[in-house]
Structures are given as structure tokens and as C-alpha cells.
């Protein structure tokens, strides 16, 4: 079973960083292309998670020790606050415009 995966290189810091880079790009793609505001928020969550992977990976592999994990804790706190506020705004937009598609919500004042 283990010989099956022998062609894969041993995992180092760069592997975690590359996973987070791909996740970050996926999040940016979602933010840019999605019409639905909630899916844009999901893209933001992907970006924040990618940043967190970076912080924790550097905490493990370089001299940052636990400082990186503390920074990741603060990122999670801010992500929770951001999600709550953004959902409230999206609900308000829906009540006013009857849609959450960000390309249709284009006027500042009725």
C-alpha cells in the first residue's frame, strides 16, 4: 500500500504553502466571478483559510513558534465578525432589492 505513493515527494513547508496558494487563488476566482453575494462571502472564507494555513505552517517550520498560531486565532475571530456583519448587510439588501446578485444591486439611492 505504501509503495503505491512512493513517487510523491516528502512533505515539507513548501507543500503547505502551495496548497494555501491554490486555495487562495480559488477564493479570488470565486470572489471575482460569482454573482450571488453569499457565494462571494464563501470566496472570502476560502481566502482567509488560505492565509491561516500559511500562518500555521510558518509557525511550525520556522522560528515563529506559537506567534503564528496566535495570529491565526485573531484571523478566525475577525472572520466570524465579518461573516455576521456581511450576512446582515446581505439580508438588508435582499429586503430592499429582492435580489442578492451583486451585479443587479447597482444604485446607491432609490
Amino acid at each position: 500500500m505504501k509503495e503505491l505513493f512512493d513517487w510523491l515527494p516528502n512533505v515539507q513547508l513548501a507543500h503547505f504553502l502551495i496548497v494555501s496558494a491554490i486555495l487562495f487563488s480559488l477564493g479570488v476566482y470565486g470572489i471575482v466571478t460569482r454573482k450571488n453575494a453569499i457565494l462571494v462571502l464563501m470566496g472570502v472564507e476560502l481566502v482567509l483559510n488560505a492565509a491561516n494555513i500559511n500562518l500555521v505552517a510558518f509557525a511550525r517550520y520556522t522560528g515563529m513558534n506559537l506567534d503564528g498560531q496566535v495570529a491565526a486565532v485573531f484571523v478566525i475571530i475577525l472572520a466570524a465578525a465579518e461573516a455576521a456583519i456581511a450576512l446582515a448587510i446581505v439580508l438588508n439588501v435582499y429586503h430592499r432589492f429582492q435580489t442578492v446578485n451583486v451585479d443587479e444591486v447597482s444604485n446607491l439611492k432609490e
Binding site: L13, F16, L23, F24, S25, T33, T62, A84, I89
Partner: protein, 165 residues
């Protein structure tokens, strides 16, 4: 090839595949539920990086809090009965090019800069008490500010979302 490597590749594949489904799926519910697997995959990566407290926090806050909030948003802003919950996309091709260039260049920079770093000798121990100590000593001011930010965000969200008569 050790168990660590196999675990890393497993969680990386889970994270990235479900992340792709989040971004590319036409159905909002599929996106929301594959976001669940993305968060679990990231939590697995945290475990592999010896961040046990963060892994549990990730599952508690992201899966238990933020994802449920997003699902509430999906349910409240779509007429589930009348209209199908699908969504369109804008400018896919330029965005795909930009995202691919971003991923490629970031990966290239990471690989060339941090390609051969040996992991530091690291005693496997629980990080929770150490993290709590740091939050109460070196990071006391950010910690207090974060608590105020959370309170303000909570009150603000309740104020904004309240239906006015």
C-alpha cells in the same frame, strides 16, 4: 513515505477538491456543503502542523458558526420553493486566467524560497495552555480589542438585520 505524508496528501486533496466545488458549482447548496469539507480539510492540515487548539477552533467556529450562518443566508435570500437556487457567473475567462497566474506565481515563489526547509525539532505537546498564556500576556491588548470588535459586530449585525416597520 510516512503516515504524515499520506495524511497531508489526503487532507490537501480533500481541501482543494471541495474548494473547487465551492467555486465552480452552479448550485448554491452544493457550494455551501462542500465548504464544510474544505473547512474539515483545513482542520486536518492544522493537526498535521501540530496546531491542535486551532484545529478544534476551526471546526467549532467555521463549521459550527460561520457555515451555519451562510446556510441561513442562502435559505433566507432565495425563494427555495419557486425559483431554483442556481447562480450565474461573470467574466469567467479573465478571472480564470488571473487566478491561474496568481496560483502559479505564488507557488513558484513559495517553492523557490522555501523549497528545502527542514522542520525544526519540535516536541509534540498541547498548545492550548501556551496559547492561552500568550493571549493573556504578550497579546493582551489585541485580545481585548478583539473582544470589543466582536461585541460591536454583534450589536451592529443585530441593528442592521432588524426588520424596520
Amino acid at each position: 513515505m510516512e503516515l504524515f505524508d499520506i495524511g497531508f496528501y489526503l487532507f490537501a486533496v480533500i481541501t482543494l477538491v471541495s474548494g473547487c466545488i465551492v467555486v465552480f458549482s452552479r448550485n448554491i447548496m452544493y457550494s455551501a456543503f462542500s465548504l464544510l469539507f474544505t473547512f474539515f480539510g483545513v482542520a486536518g492540515l492544522y493537526v498535521l502542523l501540530y496546531a491542535d487548539f486551532l484545529a478544534v477552533t476551526q471546526i467549532l467556529i467555521y463549521v459550527g458558526g460561520i457555515l451555519v450562518l451562510l446556510l441561513f443566508g442562502v435559505m433566507l435570500t432565495n425563494k427555495v420553493v419557486s425559483v431554483d437556487i442556481k447562480t450565474g457567473t461573470l467574466q469567467t475567462i479573465p478571472a480564470a486566467v488571473v487566478a491561474a497566474v496568481l496560483a502559479g506565481s505564488l507557488s513558484g515563489v513559495f517553492y523557490s524560497t522555501w523549497g528545502d526547509v527542514d522542520p525544526r525539532p519540535h516536541a509534540i505537546e498541547a498548545t492550548t495552555s501556551a496559547l492561552g498564556e500568550m493571549l493573556m500576556t504578550a497579546y493582551l491588548l489585541p485580545f481585548e480589542i478583539a473582544s470589543v470588535v466582536l461585541l460591536v459586530a454583534l450589536i451592529g449585525a443585530a441593528m442592521i438585520a432588524r426588520r424596520r416597520s
